[in-house]
C-alpha cells in the first residue's frame, strides 16, 4: 500500500466542533481519508472518537466546522442520508433481532428490501466474495458473536459503501477471526473502499492501518503512520503521559482458596450459554485469567461463582468449605467477592447514589447493617473510602451511579469489591470500556490484592490484559473451560486454539 499520495481524497473533516452540556466532545477536529485507505481513529474512552464518527454517520450534527465527501459538501442530517452518500457503519454493539433470520435482519436495515429469496442470494454472493461465510437462513440467536458481526458487515457491504466505519470490531473475535476480518478489510481497501477503523488496540492498528489520527480530550493530538511507530509511542500520544506497566510483587504460592469441580449450570438468559462440567482451582496469591469470545459462558460463570445462580452441591468450595448451596451474601461472608461485567444495572443500580451502591454488595462483609437497620454514616464513610483509595472522580458520594463516566464507575465497582478484604475475587471484564490510565490502576489494584494473598479469577475478552496480569490461563468455549495452563510460554496461536479457533472461517479463505 504505497503511493498513498496519488489516491484522491474521499472524506475531509475540517474544524469540526461539538459540545454537550458540560463537555466539549470534539474541538476543532480536522483530518482526511483517501479512497481505499484504512484510517485508524485512536484514542482513549471519552476522547471523542464516538462523537466524531456519529457526526460522519449523521447521528449527531456538529456545532461548527464542515465535512466534504468526494469533493462535495457533506452534512448528513440522519444515517439514511449518510448511507445514500456511501457511508456505512458497523457498530460495536450489534442491533440485531435474535429471533429473526440473518436475511430478515439484513432486510430490516434496508430502505427498499428486495424479496427475501433474492436477498438471501445476494448475501451468499457477498459473503463468498469477501470470505465471510454466513447462512442467510439461520437464526441470529444461534450465531456466535463473530458471526453476528459478519451479519452487520454484510449488511453494510450490500450498500456498496465508499467509506466503511468500524467501531472496535475485534473486541468480540478470537485471534484467528481477527486475522480473517483483516483479510476482508484489506480486500475491501484494495478495491477502493476506505475504512475508518476505531480502536484502542495498538498492535492491530499497526498491522492493519495506513494512517492514524490520534484524539485526546476531543482534540487531534497527532497523525502518524502506525507502521513507523511503536505501540508504546502511540499509547503515550493517546494518553498524554508515560505509562508504567503494572508491577507484580514476588509471591509465594499458597494453598487452594477456590476449588470448582464438575460445575454445570443452565443459562438463565434466553440464547445464553450453559456451563458444562467446569473445573479449576485457584491458589492464594494466584491470578487465573479466563479468556473467551463474548457469549461463551462468561456471564453465566460469574453468576454461578457469585451465587446468583444456584449451583449443585459439592461443585464449589472456598478454603475447603463447600459453599455451593449458599446465596450471594453467604458467599461474601465466606470470603468471595464478585464484580460483574455490566456496570449499570448489575454491579450498580443506575439511579442510586454511590453510598447506596456501596451498601449494595458491601453490607455483609463491612457490617453496615445492624439488626436489619442500615448504618448510613458507616456506609457513607465506606463509600468515601472507595472514592479516595481508587481515585474515583466524582463531585461526591451522593451522586447517582449513572452520572459517573464508565471508567470512574468501574473504578468504584472494582474498588468496592477489593476494599472488602476478600479471600477470593471474581471479576468479569475488569477494564471494559475504561481509559488506559484507569485500566492500569485497576490492574495494579488486582495484582496488589493477589500479592496480599487473595485468589483472583479474571474473566476478560482482552487477551493483552490477561497475559499481563494472569499467572495461569484458561479459555471458555461454548460453556466449557479448557484446563488452565501457565501463562509463561503460551503462544498466541495456542491461546487462539484454546478459545475455539476461528469458528469455521478458515475454510472460506482457503477456498479463495
Amino acid at each position: 500500500m504505497t503511493g498513498q499520495t496519488t489516491r484522491p481524497e474521499l472524506l475531509a473533516v475540517s474544524g469540526v466542533t461539538k459540545a454537550y452540556p458540560g463537555v466539549v466532545a470534539n474541538s476543532d477536529v480536522s483530518f482526511s481519508i483517501k479512497e481505499g485507505e484504512v484510517h485508524a481513529l485512536l484514542g482513549e474512552n471519552g476522547a471523542g472518537k464516538s462523537t466524531l464518527v456519529k457526526m460522519i454517520y449523521g447521528l449527531v450534527k456538529p456545532d461548527s466546522g464542515s465535512m466534504r465527501l468526494s469533493g462535495a459538501a457533506y452534512a448528513p442530517n440522519e444515517p439514511r442520508q449518510a448511507r445514500s452518500s456511501g457511508v456505512a457503519m458497523v457498530f460495536q454493539h450489534f442491533s440485531l433481532f435474535e429471533a429473526l433470520s440473518v436475511a430478515e435482519n439484513v432486510a430490516l436495515g434496508m430502505e427498499n428490501p428486495p424479496k427475501l429469496r433474492d436477498l438471501a442470494g445476494r448475501i451468499r454472493k457477498v459473503s463468498e466474495e469477501y470470505g465471510l461465510p454466513l447462512d442467510p437462513d439461520r437464526m441470529v440467536g444461534d450465531l456466535s458473536a463473530g458471526e453476528r458481526q459478519r451479519v452487520e458487515i454484510i449488511r453494510c457491504l450490500l450498500q456498496d459503501p465508499k467509506l466503511l466505519i468500524m467501531d472496535e470490531p475485534t473486541s468480540v473475535l478470537t485471534p484467528q477471526e481477527v486475522e480473517i476480518l483483516f483479510k476482508t478489510l484489506r480486500q475491501l481497501s484494495a478495491e477502493g473502499t476506505a475504512i475508518l477503523y476505531i480502536s484502542h488496540k495498538l498492535e492491530e492498528i499497526r498491522a492493519l492501518c495506513d494512517e492514524a489520527t490520534i484524539l485526546r480530550r476531543g482534540k487531534v493530538v497527532a497523525t502518524c503512520t502506525p507502521r513507523d511507530r511503536s505501540a508504546r509511542e502511540m499509547a503515550e500520544l493517546m494518553v498524554g503521559a508515560t505509562l508504567t506497566p503494572p508491577e507484580r510483587g514476588a509471591k509465594a504460592k499458597g494453598e487452594t482458596a477456590l476449588q470448582v469441580s464438575g460445575l454445570s449450570v443452565a443459562s438463565p438468559i434466553p440464547f445464553g450459554t450453559s456451563l458444562k462440567n467446569i473445573g479449576f482451582s485457584v491458589a492464594k496469591g494466584e491470578v487465573l485469567g479466563i479468556a473467551g469470545v463474548a457469549g461463551n459462558g462468561q456471564d453465566e460463570l460469574l453468576l454461578a461463582l457469585s451465587g446468583e445462580l444456584r449451583t449443585a452441591a459439592g461443585t464449589l468450595s472456598i478454603d475447603g468449605k463447600d459453599v455451593s448451596a449458599l446465596g450471594p451474601n453467604d458467599r461474601r461472608r465466606a470470603g468471595l467477592v464478585a464484580a460483574p461485567e455490566e456496570r449499570l444495572g448489575h454491579a450498580a443500580a443506575p439511579d442510586m447514589s454511590l453510598v447506596e451502591n456501596a451498601l449494595l454488595s458491601g453490607a455483609t462483609r463491612q457490617g453496615l447493617v445492624k439488626n436489619g437497620f442500615i448504618d448510613w454514616p458507616a456506609t457513607r464513610s465506606f463509600a468515601e473510602g472507595i472514592v479516595k483509595d481508587f481515585d474515583v472522580r466524582t463531585p461526591g458520594t451522593h451522586v447517582a451511579a449513572r452520572a459517573l463516566s464508565g471508567g470512574n464507575l468501574q473504578k468504584f465497582v472494582v474498588g468496592r469489591e477489593l476494599s472488602q478484604a476478600p479471600t477470593v475475587i471474581v471479576i468479569n471484564q475488569p477494564t471494559w470500556g475504561v481509559d488506559a490510565a484507569a485500566a492500569a490502576a485497576i490492574r495494579q489494584a488486582i495484582l496488589d490484592r493477589a500479592a496480599q494473598g487473595a485468589a483472583v479469577v479474571v474473566i476478560s475478552q482482552d487477551l493483552d490484559e490477561l497475559l499481563e496480569i494472569a499467572d495461569n490461563f484458561a479459555a471458555l468455549n461454548e460453556g466449557r473451560l479448557t484446563p488452565p495452563r501457565p501463562v509463561a510460554g503460551l503462544t498466541i496461536d495456542e491461546i487462539g486454539l484454546m478459545m475455539g479457533g476461528a469458528h469455521g472461517m478458515e475454510v472460506a479463505h482457503h477456498a479463495h
Binding site: T51, K54, L59, V60, K61, N77, S306, G307, E308, G327, P328, N329, D330, R332, A338, P340, E342, G345, H346, A347, A348, A349, P350, D351, M352, E356, L359, L360, S361, A363, T364, V369, G372, F373, I374, W376, V399, A400, R402, A403
Partner: protein, 362 residues
C-alpha cells in the same frame, strides 16, 4: 419545537413540585370542563376543594368524612406502594379488603354475644390474616408457576365479591334482621365496634393505624435493609440479585404486607363506618388506593397527603353534584384528570424541556 432532554440525575425540586403542578393543572382543565357543562368553574372548584372543610353549612358533616375516607385509602396505598416500588403489581387490594372484612367480621360474629375487650384485637388479626391469605394466592402462583400477579390479583377481586355476597345472604346474615341481607351491625356491639375516637373528627382506629403504617413505612424505606432491597429490586432487578435479594421472597413479602394492610382496612371499615357485612360493602377503596399510591409518588408521606386530597375530591365531588347538580361522571373525569396530569408532569423529574429544533444524538 419542544425537545426532551434527560437529566443527569432526577430533579429533587420537580419530585416535590409535580404533584402541586398537577393539582393546579387539574383545577384549570376541570374548570374548563365545568364551564363547558354550563356551571360556574370557580364555584365548582370551590365547592370541591373548599366547602367540604370550611362551609358553615356542610363542613360539620363533611369534615369528619375526610379522615373516614382517607384512612383506608392511606392504609391500603402505603402497603401497595412497597410492592409497586419493587415492581410487584398487586392490583387486587379491593379483594383483599373484602376478605379482611369477611374474616374479621366472621371471627367477631362467631364469638357473638361474648363480651370481652380481646374480641376487637382478635378481629383485627383475623382481618389482616384474611387480606394476607387472599394476597398469597397470586403471590404463590407467581413464585411457583410464574403467573402474572396483575391478572390473578385482579380476578380474585370478583371472586371475593361473590364470597362477600354469599356471606351477606347466608352464614353471616343477621338472624334478627327480618330476612334482609347483611350481617348484625358490628359498630353497635361494644366489643366489636370501631368507634369515632374524638367526636366530630372522624378519627377511628383505622386512621390511627394508617398514620402508624405511614411512619413505619417511612422508617422501613429510609433506614431498613428490607426497604433498600425493595427499592433496589424495583430499580435494578439484576443488581438486586447481585446484592443477594431473593425475588421470590420479596414477592411473598410485598404481596403479604399489602394484602394484610388491605385486610386491616376492610376490618376497620366493617366495624366502623360501614358497620356490617353487606352485598355492597366495598366501594372501591382498593382501586382508588392505586391512584393514591402513585399520586403520593410511592412515598409514605406523599401518600398521606395524596390520601387526604383524594378523599377531599370524593367528598367535594359529592357535595358538588348535590349542590350544583354536576353529573357524577364529570366528577370522575375530574379525578381522572388528576392522575393524568400527575403522570404527565412526572416527566419533568427525569427530563427537562428544551425549546428549539436541534437534533441530538440518539
Amino acid at each position: 419545537m419542544l425537545r426532551l432532554e434527560k437529566r443527569p440525575s432526577p430533579s429533587r425540586f420537580w419530585q416535590a413540585a409535580t404533584p402541586i403542578l398537577a393539582v393546579i393543572l387539574t383545577m384549570i382543565a376541570g374548570g374548563i370542563m365545568f364551564a363547558l357543562l354550563g356551571k360556574n368553574p370557580v364555584e365548582a372548584i370551590r365547592t370541591i376543594f373548599w366547602d367540604p372543610l370550611f362551609d358553615p353549612q356542610y363542613a360539620a358533616y363533611s369534615r369528619p368524612q375526610l379522615l373516614v375516607k382517607a384512612g383506608p385509602l392511606i392504609l391500603i396505598a402505603t402497603g401497595l406502594s412497597l410492592g409497586f416500588r419493587a415492581g410487584i403489581w398487586n392490583i387486587g387490594a379491593e379483594g383483599q379488603y373484602i376478605m379482611g372484612a369477611v374474616f374479621g367480621a366472621g371471627v367477631g360474629l362467631a364469638l357473638y354475644p361474648v363480651e370481652t375487650r380481646w374480641i376487637f384485637p382478635l378481629m383485627i388479626l383475623a382481618g389482616i390474616f384474611g387480606g394476607w391469605l387472599w394476597a398469597m394466592i397470586p403471590a404463590i402462583l407467581k413464585t411457583r408457576f410464574r403467573t402474572n400477579e396483575i391478572l390473578v390479583s385482579l380476578l380474585l377481586v370478583y371472586v371475593a365479591q361473590y364470597i362477600l355476597a354469599a356471606m351477606a345472604l347466608g352464614p353471616m346474615r343477621n338472624p334478627e334482621g327480618g330476612g334482609f341481607p347483611g350481617s348484625r351491625n358490628l359498630s353497635q356491639i361494644p366489643s366489636m365496634a370501631n368507634p369515632e375516637l374524638i367526636a366530630g373528627t372522624g378519627l377511628h382506629w383505622g386512621v390511627v393505624a394508617a398514620i402508624g403504617v405511614v411512619i413505619a413505612a417511612y422508617v422501613l424505606l429510609q433506614r431498613h435493609i428490607l426497604g433498600f432491597q425493595i427499592k433496589l429490586a424495583g430499580q435494578a432487578p439484576r443488581a438486586a440479585r447481585f446484592a443477594g435479594v431473593s425475588p421470590e421472597r420479596l414477592v411473598i413479602l410485598c404481596m403479604g404486607i399489602s394484602g394484610g394492610l388491605a385486610g386491616a382496612a376492610g376490618l376497620f371499615e366493617v366495624t366502623g363506618p360501614a358497620g356490617q357485612i353487606s352485598i355492597d360493602f366495598n366501594t372501591g377503596y382498593g382501586f382508588t388506593a392505586i391512584i393514591v399510591a402513585f399520586l403520593g409518588r410511592l412515598n409514605p408521606l406523599g401518600i398521606l397527603l395524596a390520601g387526604l386530597l383524594m378523599a377531599l375530591t370524593y367528598i367535594g365531588g359529592e357535595l358538588a353534584s348535590f349542590i350544583l347538580g354536576l353529573p357524577s361522571a364529570a366528577i370522575q373525569a375530574f379525578q381522572g384528570m388528576l392522575l393524568f396530569f400527575l403522570l404527565a408532569v412526572d416527566l419533568l423529574t427525569n427530563f427537562r424541556i428544551r425549546f428549539g429544533s436541534k437534533k441530538e444524538a440518539i
